[in-house]
């Protein structure tokens, strides 16, 4: 059964003013449990708008959103359930820290869920361990941490709610390559260990291609494609057309293909590239 479903979801901002924009236009989507979905799209394509519908922060102008098969706008109860089933971590989450200590800040979500003190403590420690937040850091003020550390604390704050679906809006923006890899790795580990569904919003597909099982391409308020990573890269030309970047390896192979070499164009990692070239060599193609 699909865990997230939208049915002709349309969202308009500032309705009835000269600033009215349709940020989402009749989006119908079906996401299976356990996937790691990379949501990519151009600036202003509607990615953030889309994900804020999944836990009911935004109300659809038209259409329906189902979490776990339940219409989240059916009642107050179902909305509250969706809030806790879907953990949403916004872009630059470090600016939302507010407590005196890191521990208390991570505990904010679980406390709102009304859990017992023991359970809260267990969850905070689990989330901290996951995100590499040390015991020493737990006692510090969140404002005394470095940017990357703050980011991890903020993500831990959402993970501690142990949502069935974890959604992160550009979790790697503004981090150096090492910080980026750390975050992506811990997200992958989280999914493997808990079996939850994960969505990562990103500008750049190259970042998320390694860990994603599915790619959702959003383009000007609509879903352009929702498919596996290789299948998405097969449409690299279309992606380039709508202003999305594809990995350099893919570009090289597209170019080779255009020059008449019989190569695949759905290649997106260097390893695949090497394999493909070796295959050509074996077949005796003159390179």
């Amino acid at each position: 059964m699909s865990i997230l479903r939208t049915d002709n979801l349309t969202h308009k901002y500032s309705v009835g003013t000269p600033f009215e924009v349709t940020a989402l236009d009749s989006v119908s989507l079906d996401i299976e449990e356990g996937e790691l979905v990379a949501v990519i799209g151009h600036t202003g394509s509607g990615k953030s708008t889309l994900i804020q519908h999944f836990n009911g922060l935004l109300k659809p102008s038209e259409g329906k959103v189902y979490v776990d098969g339940k219409d989240i706008w059916e009642s107050k109860q179902s909305l509250r359930e969706a809030r806790f089933k879907v953990g949403l971590c916004f872009q630059y989450p470090e600016y939302q820290l507010f407590e005196e200590t890191v521990y208390k800040d991570i505990a904010f979500g679980p406390r709102n869920m009304g859990l017992s003190d023991d359970e809260i403590d267990a969850r905070v420690r689990r989330a901290a361990e996951f995100t590499g937040v040390t015991d020493e850091m737990l006692e510090k003020s969140p404002f005394d941490l470095s940017g990357g550390e703050k980011r991890r604390v903020a993500i831990a704050g959402v993970m501690a709610m142990e949502p069935k679906i974890l959604i992160l809006d550009e979790p790697t923006s503004g981090l150096d390559p090492k910080g980026r890899d750390t975050i992506l790795e811990l997200i992958r580990d989280y999914r493997e260990r808990t079996g939850s569904t994960v969505m990562i919003v990103s500008h750049s597909m190259e970042d998320v291609a390694d860990i994603a099982t599915k790619v959702l391409v959003v383009n000007s308020s609509k879903i352009m494609s929702y498919d596996t990573v290789p299948n998405t890269y097969k449409r690299a030309a279309e992606l380039l057309e709508v202003g999305l970047d594809v990995p350099s390896v893919t570009k090289i192979f597209m170019e080779l293909h255009d020059r008449g070499l019989p190569v695949r164009t759905d290649i997106y990692t260097v390893e695949q590239g090497i394999e493909e070239i070796n295959k050509l060599r074996l077949e005796g193609v003159n390179l």
Binding site: P18, N55, L57, G87, F90, Q96, N112, M113, F143
Partner: protein, 271 residues
């Protein structure tokens, strides 16, 4: 919730009123407000209302938007009306019961006051709807700049106002973002007693303050890096010029004022 605040919200457009010089609009609004207090009877007030209606129509700002600006002062209007009905005791008695005396004079005054307040608010809203906040502060600065002895402070105050206005939308945005982030962590901001709700705002206000201070520092550094040092020797990029349009507008308000004075003299005063 923040989006309900319409006073001071700019409604972009290219109407005659939008194109007027902001200084002239400020002067006219000021004159209008004074003249509306000069009105002594329904005839002169009627002229003012008519003038306002013409200006609203010329501005092409939807009437619905204009009416929205009245909503926040509904309580004040009601309160003024009730006070006047009960306390003014001229005219013929209409209703007498124990300590409640209602007279025609009271009713007239109440209606007069309601129209006057609405006209005031609509006139000042029209200014802010058709002039962007930066143009307004710029206009104020230029109108006050002949006061040489306080030139520097005029500039400083205008700069502070411009910056404050510039950051209101940013703050509203930030407020919404942080609210959403805390709601996503299960914060409940909408239910509970007043104290509970005030407490629930802490997770929103703390990050908001911290971000604002950070922004203020960054902005100050950025301004210093670009050699900002106050009004001394500063020239302007945009020159404001009065046009024919502004002359017409001035003529219009003069005619209206003349009409009001004449009607005040011709007909009996009711207040």
């Amino acid at each position: 919730m923040m989006h309900d605040i319409t006073i001071g919200q700019f409604f972009p457009g290219n109407s005659i009123i939008h194109r007027m010089d902001p200084r002239m609009k400020l002067i006219l609004t000021f004159i209008y407000i004074i003249v509306i207090f000069v009105c002594k009877n329904f005839w002169s007030l009627g002229v003012m209302v008519l003038a306002l209606i013409i200006m609203v129509l010329l501005s092409k700002v939807p009437v619905k938007v204009i009416l929205k600006s009245i909503k926040p002062i509904a309580i004040i209007i009601t309160f003024t009306a009730i006070l006047n009905i009960f306390y003014v005791s001229d005219g013929d008695p209409l209703f007498d019961w124990r300590f409640i005396h209602i007279t025609t004079g009271g009713i007239y005054t109440a209606i007069f006051m309601i129209i006057r307040i609405i006209a005031l608010v609509v006139a000042s809203s029209l200014l802010t709807y058709t002039t962007s906040p930066t143009l307004i502060t710029d206009g104020i600065e230029r109108l006050l700049s002949p006061l040489k002895f306080m030139k520097n402070s005029v500039h400083t105050i205008a700069m502070m106002m411009t910056i404050a206005l510039r950051f209101i939308p940013t703050l509203v945005d930030e407020f919404e973002k942080i609210t959403n982030a805390q709601k996503a962590r299960g914060a409940d901001l909408e239910t509970g007693t007043l104290v509970e709700r005030a407490k629930a705002l802490v997770p929103v206000l703390v990050p908001l303050f911290i971000t604002s201070f950070r922004r203020a520092y960054e902005l100050a550094f950025a301004m210093e890096c670009r050699c900002y040092h106050g009004a001394e020797g500063r020239t302007r990029m945009k020159i404001m010029k009065y046009s024919k349009l502004d002359a017409f507008a001035l003529l219009f308000i003069c005619v209206v004022t003349g009409g009001v004075v004449a009607l005040n003299i011709l007909f009996v005063h009711i207040i």
